[in-house]
Symmetry: C2
């Protein structure tokens, strides 16, 4: 089927159901960061293969909204599709609901206009927001999956890869203990059931992992936790008899994946908790189709909060994973500096080599996201993804921004280093200035000490302050939560300028990654992971509990890029202490020649 | 009437209206910071004269909630009243609604329990929150003023002081221009009327001032702004014929104060805007008693935002007021250091002397709040108010915390300085350490530069960071908004740890006042006012608009209290630049001997 044929088939169904428009978002039923091909309905209907976008189809128009990262790709891929590109990063681009309201308003018409969506693809909150915005123009939202009946040919199946159970030795907490804590949290909210749709949450709660999507070791399933029962809804072919036994012994019953939609209407509960941002609207509707049912929609759910708090076993695992990650990075940077450029290299060959070094490490399973290797001007594109046929060759002098991470059984890593490649005497003063501004912010956040209850938006300025003083900023967050052998990005707390109300909790792991991007020239980002721990009392302490960050990442900064006179004595001391620690921790894991290289990179400044 | 007789009279009315409890809060109908005696219903019913508290009366109990500032005073004043003191700062003290819910729950009773309140004394939001919390136990809130019928004897009248019109020369904007901007803001919110109850807002909008309450030059009134009409509800005896003419010529009509309650039911509007935190519930109910009426309850209202943005005339006025304030402060500190202690002094005599120096300044009308003069241990009591008969004598060596401000026709000031009194060689190292931590935070906030859209909660850490690093904090906000010849505390933005969503706007004036308090020893607070202005672009700027703070306050810090080795070179330079500026600005306004004193205080460190 061509895109034109798909559109014709969809419009025939829209006519049958009296829908004036149909919306196909680039999402899945599990609020996933990385989607399985089965759910790529937006790409299927439009032909646009970018990771982010939403298609809107009326009887005579087809539009695709996407952001500036994908403008060029979308223009190419939408050729001949009749889809019109809506450039949503442009200030004058209407939002989807604004466009629908202005095009289809029926406020002066006696007939109600109906727009269809697949409710599986919207979170409860996302669906409500859209419904309310459309209601302003008298437009009604209708839940109806029109893609399933027409995408019958060559649709990839829902992932069928087997799950595997994840040892308490890594998780640091048994499934029964997690279920007990979760049930206690539900009681506190006067609820007696929880619906879980996000795959990270299910994996964390039930100590299961899988390979169903890229980068995040999760397994496609739903879960419903009741006070006396916990049910995992999963394709039975994914669960071996052994794993089924293990799950059963931990108090987890199995039902087929699709059975959640018949289970929810029969669920016996006083009040069900659902995370408004992570449970899809179809599940909500399935439960609410029975009269007099009570749901508490909150975000984040207690499960999100529990998952974000890493225990000591998880943190010890992560510290060990960090050492292996650092060995790979040290080998990679040594290779880059001493051998790599004897043969032609590109952004992609560098990323592949780093992957190869990581893969030598014990318990490595995958990268934790697609490596961003940006050479010179490409480094200034924040979400750059080098492609083999279009990526930049590494030639001459320049700056390499390298953002990468690994999934290890004992932890998830995420690190960015920005390094100079070539003749160090050619490093421009402006580059050193920018690098040092970023490094100062990175250090200030790493050194932060703050009372319990502090939110990330209170600390963000520590990373921004030095560049803000010069009128420079960056268009991404300063720090995201990081899962444990799970999603590289997780909630609920983070370190951003947004007014996120979630406090930083003991055991939260965050990235610390300020940056400066000079369009057409280079990008600089410096990123470590840090864990939140209790700070020791000082002689002056007045009684409150204080937290601080423990730096977890173990890799030198490129000190050739530092403008030393911009640093305070405290900052110099911090860098030297960090480098001494890196050398001490990693040297025993290296060959002699590698250790000698590391030593030169960790010399005091 | 005694308190016991008042309680008996109230209970008789409660019985008549079938109310199980009655709540008397220490508030007024205008969300005022400083109340007129007429509205001190809580003090009248309980005998407790503190500024903050709420009385709850049932048929057999009387309780008074107040915070730890007032525990001693309340214990004394409630003697023999049958009132039980509820210490609301104690962690185990139930809130009023918690207590009512636990004592009076009727969830298992067929009869509904009703609790009465005077809706004039609650904001719309405050009333809604209480109603919703009580509804959890099946308790119903009833709007009914039971104090008015029984407080007939010696009740102070509603303030009758005349208003005066305030010149555009000070206000920098005419009433018609403000009304036009406000109406435009209402249109943007699809509203066509605004109800105004806060006296600061009325004074700002209509360029009127008065002397109805302490410290804030406001006049008791209500106001309703419609698209073609603006009505000031005010006792006609408060308005001279001349001022009535001026108001009339500016498009403002007059009606009696109480007439707002008959006006609102007749108001012809599509949708009325009310500030949920500043309009009282009685006004809301008066408007909503007619069916099918539409209200948009928001906070802050556009009026709050407009008022917080000072224009150049206001800022120039404030800069001039600051110079006169600085002359008074310089004279005061010289007197304190050279003459005062030749005769006995107390916290109160010092405050009086400072008031006298300020009163010599042109356009001074009043203090902007009650001076806090805290000697040694009293300085550690954040809201300390010295009383003539109990205040501390200034004797020996010690620390004086002095927080004070003036109302001048051209601006409102608010400044805190902490100074050493006595032999400088006796200054303890710990005191210097604490003082320098506070000063470092004060400077870091003053130097902040940040993109448009930044909120105060993002900047707060700059003031806290150095003391947090040592496990020290303070129990008050870092910065509050400051009105222009109006309330010393205003919204909507501020600089606190709270998640206040309001961004800092150009022209906003804030205090910058970190502190450290050592119970039983001393308090340190250092406070300047700053104005938000646009920052000049730098060589590195990438295009966004940046703001910075202009320091307005002109008074030296006590450099004897500085531990210089804790300061960075940038901080030392900032202090020296500040002191040079203070000396340059104020010297021309001083007598020679005063200038010589100032010179010694402004010497570079």
């Amino acid at each position: 089927m061509t895109v034109l044929e798909r559109l014709a088939a969809l419009r025939a169904l829209m006519q049958q159901y009296e829908l004036t428009a149909y919306i196909v978002p680039g999402t899945d039923p599990h609020a996933s960061e990385y989607m399985a091909p089965h759910w790529m309905e937006m790409s299927w209907i439009s032909g646009f293969l970018g990771e982010s976008g939403t298609a809107v189809i009326t009887m005579d128009k087809a539009l695709l909204w996407t952001d500036s990262r994908y403008y060029l790709q979308a223009e190419a891929e939408l050729q001949g599709s009749t889809f019109e590109l809506m450039r949503e990063s442009d200030v004058d681009c209407p939002s989807i609901t604004e466009w629908l309201n202005s095009q289809l308003s029926t406020l002066n018409s006696p007939l109600s206009i109906q727009i269809g969506v697949n409710p599986e693809m919207y979170s409860i909150n996302g669906y409500r927001d859209m419904r309310d915005e459309l209601a302003e123009s008298g437009i009604q939202l209708v839940s109806k999956d029109l893609i399933q009946p027409i995408w019958t040919e060559n649709r990839p199946p829902i992932p069928m890869n087997p799950l595997y159970t994840y040892s308490d030795q890594f998780a640091g907490a048994s499934v029964p203990s997690k279920l007990a804590r979760l049930r206690e949290a539900l009681r506190e909210k006067r609820c007696d059931a929880l619906v879980v749709a996000e795959l990270d949450e299910i994996g964390w709660l039930l100590n299961i992992r899988g390979t169903d999507v890229d980068y995040t070791p999760c397994v496609v399933a739903y879960c419903v936790v009741e006070m006396q029962r916990c049910t995992l809804f999963i394709n039975p072919h994914k669960v071996s008899a052994t794993d089924a036994d293990i799950l059963h012994n931990q108090g987890v019953e199995l039902q087929p994946y699709e059975a959640i939609y018949t289970y929810l209407p029969t669920l016996q509960a006083q009040k069900v908790l659902m995370d408004g941002n992570r449970v899809n609207e179809a599940l909500y509707e399935a439960y609410m189709q029975v009269p007099d049912r009570k749901v508490l929609v909150v975000t984040p759910s207690p499960l999100q909060v529990m998952m974000s708090v890493k225990n000591e076993v998880q943190l010890d695992g992560l510290r060990a994973a960090m050492r292996r990650d650092a060995v790979a990075l040290t080998r990679f940077f040594r290779w880059l500096e001493t051998e790599a450029l004897q043969s032609p290299q590109t952004e992609v060959t560098l990323a592949n080599q780093l992957h190869a070094y990581r893969a030598m490490g014990q318990s490595f399973t995958d990268e934790s996201f697609g490596t961003i290797a940006g050479w010179n001007a490409n480094g200034a594109i924040v979400h750059y993804a080098a492609k083999p046929d279009s990526c930049a060759p590494i030639e001459g002098n320049g700056v390499l921004l390298l953002d990468s991470g690994g999934q290890y059984l004992d932890g998830t890593t995420d690190i960015t280093r920005t390094v100079w490649v070539g003749d160090p005497s050619a490093i421009p003063a402006q580059l050193k200035h920018d690098f040092t501004l970023v490094l100062k912010g990175h250090i200030a956040l790493a050194k932060a000490r703050f009372p319990k209850g502090t939110r990330g938006n209170q600390l963000d300025v520590l990373a921004h302050q030095f560049m803000w003083a010069e009128g420079i900023t960056y268009g991404h967050g300063t720090g995201h939560g990081v899962g444990h052998f799970m999603g590289c990005h997780e909630g609920p707390a983070n370190i951003r300028t947004d007014n996120n109300p979630n406090p930083i909790r003991l055991g939260n792991v965050f990235s610390d990654e300020p940056g400066i991007y000079r369009a057409g020239k280079y990008g600089i980002r410096i990123e470590n992971l840090v864990a939140t721990r209790q700070a020791a009392a000082t002689a002056h302490t007045t009684g409150e509990t204080y937290f601080e960050f423990e730096t977890l990442t173990l890799c030198f900064y490129d000190t050739r890029l530092i403008d030393r006179k911009m640093l305070t004595a405290d900052e110099v001391a911090w860098i030297n202490t960090y480098h001494a620690w890196v050398e001490k921790e990693i040297t025993p894991l290296l060959a002699t020649s590698e250790a000698a290289y590391l030593h030169t990179k960790c010399l005091p400044i």
